[in-house]
């Protein structure tokens, strides 16, 4: 982490109420360019509400969002996307029936003018897709290979590469590894590391402590709508993170009975 950088996003005392339910009760978080900020928490801890607030799906009930130092009010996800905040969802990211290159440029198709008519510039799209994919370490048979033939990890990687290509400054990854095998998880984590090196801020949501420890620079744990603090890499052990997520001592007892395998 470079202290000279100003944070790209500051979330200050964010509260979000759904009717009488308090989903977030004053959560603060800073994200710096080029860091991988892991957001951990058990199911129902408020992780998704928090990132949806960050990506413009929800508006906070109370609190302030600063983007590059200026207060921001995202009316919808489109605002957040155009500001440079891209979200890669675990699902709904890719269309399996379509080719990688068509998926890559979906909604942002490059256009080539022929006389008065606009055509999809397939040559450009294919070239860029192949380049970006090989940068990420994925070898395609060709740009017209369908996304359905890729593994789950490769699909996540395509989605990440797409967000980066279209100028994301902050990349929110919503549980990208939860449905993947060991090898594919490693691939996605390697992609995250590459993206971070390019100076992009990564917000990595997971409930797997080991995945977080592998790539994270800082770790913020959410429990019941509140932060239990942000820790630097090296200041905290996986066991401590696990305990924070579970919200206290009961897991220690449980872990003991399971022989330390959780």
């Amino acid at each position: 982490m470079n202290p000279e950088h100003a944070p790209i996003i500051q979330m200050k005392n964010i509260e979000k109420h759904f009717g009488s339910v308090i989903a977030l009760a004053g959560v603060s978080l800073d994200v710096f360019p080029g860091e991988c900020h892991c957001l951990l928490g058990d199911n129902g801890a408020g992780k998704s509400t928090f990132i949806k607030t960050m990506s413009g799906v929800h508006q906070p009930t109370k609190g302030e969002i600063l983007f590059e130092g200026h207060p921001m009010h995202f009316a919808d996800p489109r605002d957040a996307i155009s500001a440079g905040i891209a979200t890669v969802h675990q699902h709904l990211a890719m269309i399996p029936l379509m080719s990688v290159s068509r998926n890559f440029f979906m909604g942002n198709e490059p256009v080539k003018k022929v006389g008065p008519l606009n055509f999809f510039d397939h040559d450009y799209a294919n070239q860029v897709t192949m380049d970006e994919m090989s940068k990420m370490g994925i070898n395609l048979r060709g740009p017209d290979q369908a996304v359905g033939t890729l593994s789950g990890g490769e699909r996540q990687t395509v989605a990440i590469a797409r967000a980066v290509h279209f100028g994301a400054k902050v990349l929110i990854l919503d549980e990208p590894t939860s449905a993947l095998g060991v090898r594919q998880t490693a691939n996605v984590l390697a992609t995250v590391a590459k993206v971070r090196k390019q100076g992009i801020a990564v917000v990595f949501i997971t409930h797997n402590v080991r995945h977080a420890m592998a790539v994270g620079d800082r770790f913020t744990v959410l429990n019941r709508g509140q932060t239990l603090g942000t820790a630097q890499r090296g200041q905290i052990t996986p066991e401590e993170l696990q305990d924070l997520m579970a919200g206290g001592q009961e897991l220690v007892a449980l872990e003991g009975s399971l022989g330390g395998t959780v």
Partner: protein
């Protein structure tokens, strides 16, 4: 965790594929194989039957062209993830409107045609609007319009003219510029020359003695070719085409990526209605009359042609060229079985067999391409 670029290792599980196989495996493959099979078959069994003389070729070409016109619309709509079951009724309804406007109300034919197109496209838009607004399956919404439009196609002429067929359009369309665009024929000179040269048969008696039996290419066929090319270019070469694939492949994912899914779907409904209207106008201008029962079951014929052509019923995958080949197969088989001397009531049996084989083959091809399991 190394940050060095991962060396490009070949995944040992991906079988290397020959270039021939690469070139062969495409959405249209089913249609291409089917077309070759069907023509081989009829060349073997029906060569001398008149199927491949000028009249015979014109006959199955026209029937196939009719299927193509509605298949292009149905294909793009299906790829965008929706169905239109009101196509057949729309054909009857559009023809009846043209007849009522031009014959009963005495409008100039070009105006009758333009107004009819406007009404039909508006109804297509309404179909689409209801589908995207309510989220109901298009199957149900357009089924409702199947009945509504057919009902009007019977009710209107009955109320106005007390009959269900309105004729006399040929007389009022005489010399009309727009009517000729739909009902005319081109290249008459070439066919006259072919007739004079003895290359194609000529009439043996009657007022047209000595003239060739085929006196030009009907505009119907020209429209089919134009629509197929237009649809193919739109789907594969434009950004809108990418949106069509995306809207049908996964509407939610497409919306997340900024594709205006609703706009795409509504405009595809309008395009389907436009195709149905082209079909109806060509038919009315050729035959000179509009009937309440025109276009019965044509929606299913369009869908069958599209499915033979390799499109996926649930959307997101397909090819306009494939659909055109599907229409060609359908038309050639329908007309060809008769030339081959097959009992006509067996037609449906063959249609069913072909449909089944086409779908099995297409599914096999699609799985190779998209990695579905």
């Amino acid at each position: 965790m190394s940050n060095a670029p991962i060396p490009s290792v070949v995944d040992e599980r991906i079988k290397t594929r020959s270039r021939f196989r690469e070139a062969m495996i495409r959405p249209e493959l089913g249609g291409i194989v089917g077309t070759i099979a069907v023509f081989t078959f009829f060349l073997l069994f029906a060569f001398d039957s008149g199927m491949f003389n000028s009249q015979g070729i014109m006959n199955w070409s026209i029937v196939s062209a009719q299927f193509m016109i509605i298949a292009v619309g149905a294909c793009l709509l299906m790829i965008a993830g929706e169905f239109d079951l009101s196509v057949g009724s729309m054909i009857g309804f559009a023809g009846m409107l043209i007849a009522i406007f031009s014959v009963t109300m005495g409008w100039p034919v070009w105006m009758a045609i333009l107004v009819t197109f406007a009404i039909c496209i508006a109804i297509g838009g309404l179909n689409g609007f209801i589908v995207v607004r309510t989220g109901l399956p298009s199957f149900i919404v357009t089924l409702a319009f199947l009945f509504i439009l057919r009902g009007f196609a019977i009710f209107l002429p009955q109320q106005i003219e007390r009959k269900t067929i309105i004729g006399g359009i040929k007389d009022v369309a005489e010399g009309d510029w727009l009517a000729a665009v739909f009902g005319g024929k081109i290249l008459g000179g070439m066919f006259n020359w072919l007739g004079d040269a003895g290359l194609i048969a000529t009439f043996e008696r009657g007022t047209r003695k000595g003239q060739p039996v085929v006196d030009g290419i009907p505009m119907l066929i020209i429209w089919a070719i134009i629509l197929v090319i237009l649809g193919h270019v739109l789907l594969t070469k434009t950004r809108f085409g990418n949106w069509i694939f995306a809207a049908g492949g996964d509407a939610e994912a497409a919306r997340n990526s900024g594709v205006p899914v609703n706009k795409v779907k509504v405009s595809m409904f309008m395009f389907t209605a436009f195709c149905a209207c082209v079909f109806a106008t060509c038919q009315v201008m050729e035959f000179g009359s509009a009937g309440s029962d025109r276009g019965l079951l044509k929606e299913f014929e369009a869908i069958i042609a599209v499915v033979i052509g390799g499109a996926l019923l649930t959307g997101g995958y397909g090819s306009v060229l494939g659909a055109a080949l599907g229409a060609l197969i359908f038309g050639v088989v329908q007309q060809g079985l008769f030339f081959a001397g097959v009992e006509s009531s067996l037609f449906r049996v063959f249609l069913g067999v072909i449909l089944l084989f086409a779908v099995i083959l297409n599914t096999y091809i699609r799985r190779i391409i998209t990695g579905e399991r």
